[in-house]
Each structure stands twice: as C-alpha cells, then as structure tokens.
C-alpha cells in the first residue's frame, strides 16, 4: 500500500526576476513503514516538495496523495494523518514545553485530557520529562529538535515529514535523533520521509533513497543498490555514488558534519 504517491508533482514560483521552477515533475511512491531519505544538494527542491506534500503550498502541476487523501481535494484529510516538522521548527521561545505540546494536540482536535496525557507520554519516550516547564527558548539545540519532533507526533500521524532534522546539530544530538527515527519505525511503524543533504545520515537511516537534483528525481533505490549500480561496487561510498549520479557533491565542505 502506497502511503505517499506523487505523479509529475511540480511547483514554479513567480518572482520579480521571473519564474523559478523549484520542482519540475516528481514521481515517487512510498510504502507504509518505510524510512525514506530524500537526498539532494541545497536548492534541489526538497523543502518545496515537502511543503506541497503537507498542503502548505499548492502544486502548479501534477497530483499526489498522502495517507490516501488527495492533496488538493482533501487537504484536511492529509493534515490529520500526517505530521510535518519544518526546518525552522515553529516554537514560541516564551511558551513552555508543556503548553506548546498541549496546544499542538488541541490543534489536532485532541481533548485537553488526551493532549495532556499524550504530551506526558511523548516527553517520557523522547526524554523531555524534566523540561516540561521550561520556556522552549531555554532548550539546547538538540532538545529543541526533539521537541519539534514530539510536536509532529502529538496526533500519532501515519506519515512524518522531517525537513533536515539534524542540520546544525552537534554529533551527540544527531546520534540521538537517528535513534529516535529508528525507534519510531520499529516501535510504531511510522512512515518517515526525511530530507537531508548529509550522505552519512541518508546511508545510516534510510531504507530507500530518493535522490533529487534541480527539481527532478535523478535516482532511487536502497543505498547498497545505488552504490552498486552507479559505481559498480557495493563497497563504494555514498559520496562517490552521488558524484557519479549528479556530477557534484551534495554537502559543501564547510557544513560537513563530524562523523558519528
């Protein structure tokens, strides 16, 4: 069963300097329970694709369904069944962790009692217990990222979209987040669709990679199949593979993360 399916999904922005074709026709299918790494260099169209799949941005071409609901015909259905954690998160620094979680649950139509219980449960599972009464602005980067993800999980979505979940995090926090994604899949069978421009992250986390460049899908498959197919060796690094596919590397040297 496809949880996400897109055909020719496209988005052109109108700007003062002319049209920008950010996404130029993306076809993809994601099965229930998969962890997908949506990999591509900066500006490839990853965030734009995610914003379309989460109904924030109307496509200018193509169609897609998420959790059985059409993006355009049933946006509310998509919103109910999916969660989205944007790169900027979306927390008010002056509001407490507890209040943000409960409000988020209530926005997804949980009762106050259910939202409170769910907030407690997630805080325990994600190790945020001791932080519930802190303003979100007082959390460390890694803690805030975990809270962002807890916010996206309040309503137990079938699909979770994560945009660059580990960008800007220290190595320890990255390892924490990787463990969190693995736990989500193993424990809850949640489908996770995450974007990244870190090859090590894609290699370590994803069941399957969808590589996008300049607004189109240029390759997809398991990490090992991609390596074998594009470099002739299953021992190749994803870096070599990416280079073979796109002719460049996805991560500018100065932002390369420390290996974990």
């Amino acid at each position: 069963m496809a949880v996400i399916s897109a055909t020719g999904l496209a988005r052109t922005f109108r700007t003062k300097t002319g049209p920008v074709a950010a996404v130029r026709g993306i076809d993809l299918t994601v099965r229930a329970g998969e962890v997908i790494g949506f990999l591509g260099p900066n500006g490839a169209g990853k965030t734009t694709t995610l914003r379309m799949l989460t109904t924030l941005l109307p496509p200018t071409g193509g169609t897609a369904t998420v959790a059985g609901c059409d993006l355009v015909r049933d946006p509310v259905g998509v919103r109910r069944r999916s969660g989205y954690v944007a790169q900027s998160g979306g927390l008010d620094p002056h509001i407490s962790v507890r209040e943000e979680l409960i409000t988020q649950g209530r926005l997804y139509r949980l009762s106050t009692a259910d939202a409170t219980a769910r907030a407690q449960e997630l805080a325990r599972e994600l190790d945020l217990d001791g932080l519930m009464d802190r303003p979100t602005g007082a959390l460390s980067g890694g803690q805030r990222r975990k809270l962002d993800i807890a916010m996206g999980l309040m309503h137990r979505p079938e699909v979770l979209f994560l945009d660059e979940p580990t960008t800007g995090l220290d190595p320890g926090s990255r390892a924490d987040l990787w463990a969190l994604v693995r736990w989500l899949r193993a424990e809850h069978g949640t489908t996770v669709f995450l974007t990244t421009h870190y090859l090590d992250e894609a290699d370590a986390l994803a069941d399957r990679l969808i590589i996008v460049d300049r607004g189109v899908v240029v390759a997809e498959g398991t990490p090992s199949a991609l390596k074998l197919h594009h470099t002739g060796s299953a021992e190749a690094t994803l870096q070599d593979t990416f280079l073979a596919i796109t002719g460049r590397t996805p991560t500018p040297a100065h932002t390369a993360p420390v290996a974990v």
């Binding site: 914003r51 900027s88 979306g90 008010d92 988020q104 926005l107």
Partner: protein, 249 residues
C-alpha cells in the same frame, strides 16, 4: 469546531498578551496624554451643535486607539512567521478562519480594555455621556480593531519584513487619522476637506460614536456608521482568512 478552534487560538494569544503587562497599559498612554493635554484646550469651544467638547473628543480618541493599535498588530506575526509558528499551525487541520479570528479577537479584547480605561479617565476629567452611548462606543472600538487587525495580519503575511511593513502601515494610518476627524469634527473645516473625509470609512464610525455619546441613536450617521463598520469587518476578515490560506505560496 470553529468556535473551539477560535477559542484555542484566542487563549494562546491572550496568555501571550497577559504575560506582557507593559504592553497592555502602554497602549492607553497616548490617548491619555491627548485627554490630559489636549482636552482642556477644547473645553468651552463650540465643537458641535449638541454636547460639550468631551463628547466630541472622547469618541475620536477611542477610535484612534483602535486605529493606531490594531493597524500595527501585524508586527507580531512577522516575528511568528520567522519562528515558523505560522506554518506549524497551518499544517494542522485547524480552520484558517479560526487562525485569524483567534488572533484578532485577542486584539479586539485588548483595545476594548484600553478603551474602558480611557473612558473611566475621561469621566473623572469631566465627560458626561449616557451609558448606552458609552457601550455603543466600545462595540465600535471592537469592530474597528477586528477589521484593522485582520488587514494588518494579511499585509504582514505578504510583505514578511518589518522594514517594509512599518512604512506601509504608517502611510495608511496618518491620512486616515487626519481625514476622519478623529481630533476635531470635519464639519469645522472647509467644504472640500469635509467632502473628502466622507470617502474615509472611519469618518462614519466617528460620527456614529459621537451621536451615541449625546444619546442620538437613530440618526442617519448612526445607520451609516453601523453599515460601514460591519461591511468593513466582513471584507477585512475575508481578506485576512485568505492570507492565512495562501501565505508562503
């Protein structure tokens, strides 16, 4: 559903406002200064055919409070946009109308509260007006706040930066204030200015509140005032809801 969603958003922003006591009281400062330093100049001047000058000045100050306060409401959402709060809410099933209404009703509550303080101060200084008229004045303050805050949010969601937003709002607020006779009745001026001011929606609101303050509830001005206030609110809320639906596209 809409009511629940609206109440939820309203609660979040009402708590935010209550956290900044400074903000709540600061808003009444400017109209209070007018009351203190400008009001005494007018006492005894024949500003209107009926009523004394307080009954002319206070309605103007009330709507000025709404005009200045609510027009700048959008600044807050520019900050929220940067934090990603607006997108985070837009990705939930909550209705876009509730996203707007929860916020603008908080703004209306804040400005009505300030309007109550202002009227109390004016009463101490010598204002005399019928209770019904005073209540009608607060209703107009609320309607104007809802309208202007809605438009302010929709403008802020479009321009996205404070240095584009500020000048744009100023360019709207200053002529609105001057042309609607908030300070002094336009009928005191030359015919062309009076005529021009009729094109301003606020002119009709001020005239209606001034009538209410002298107990004249069934005048033409009152009818126009009510129609303009409601029509403006419906239009502004429609525009604002659209902005929440399409922002970032």
């Amino acid at each position: 559903m809409l009511l629940q969603d609206t109440a939820l958003i309203f609660g979040r922003y009402a708590r935010q406002t209550l956290r900044s006591k400074f903000h709540i009281v600061f808003g009444v400062l400017m109209p209070l200064l007018y009351l203190l330093f400008f009001g005494p100049l007018l006492t005894g001047l024949p500003l209107a055919s009926t009523g004394d000058s307080w009954q002319v000045l206070v309605p103007g100050l009330l709507l000025q409070l709404s005009l200045f306060g609510a027009s700048f409401a959008g600044f807050a959402i520019i900050v929220e946009q940067g934090q990603g709060v607006v997108e985070r809410m837009r990705v939930t099933p909550v209705s876009r109308l509730a996203l707007l209404l929860g916020r603008v009703l908080r703004d209306a509550a804040l400005f009505v509260f300030q309007a109550v303080l202002l009227v109390l101060a004016a009463l101490v200084m010598g204002l005399r007006a019928p209770l019904a008229g005073i209540l009608i004045g607060w209703v107009f303050v609320a309607l104007l706040a809802v309208s202007l805050a809605s438009l302010s949010y929709s403008l802020a969601l479009r321009v996205r930066t404070p240095h584009e937003f500020g000048p744009a709002v100023n360019a709207f607020v200053m002529p609105s204030m001057l042309l609607s006779g908030l300070m002094l009745p336009m009928t005191l001026g030359p015919g062309w200015l009076d005529g021009l001011s009729h094109a301003m929606p606020f002119r009709h609101l001020v005239d209606a509140v001034r009538d209410a303050y002298v107990g004249a509830y069934t005048t033409d001005s009152m009818l126009y005032g009510v129609l303009v206030a409601i029509g403006f609110a419906v239009l502004a809320v429609t525009v604002g809801t659209r902005a929440f639906r399409t922002t970032g596209a």
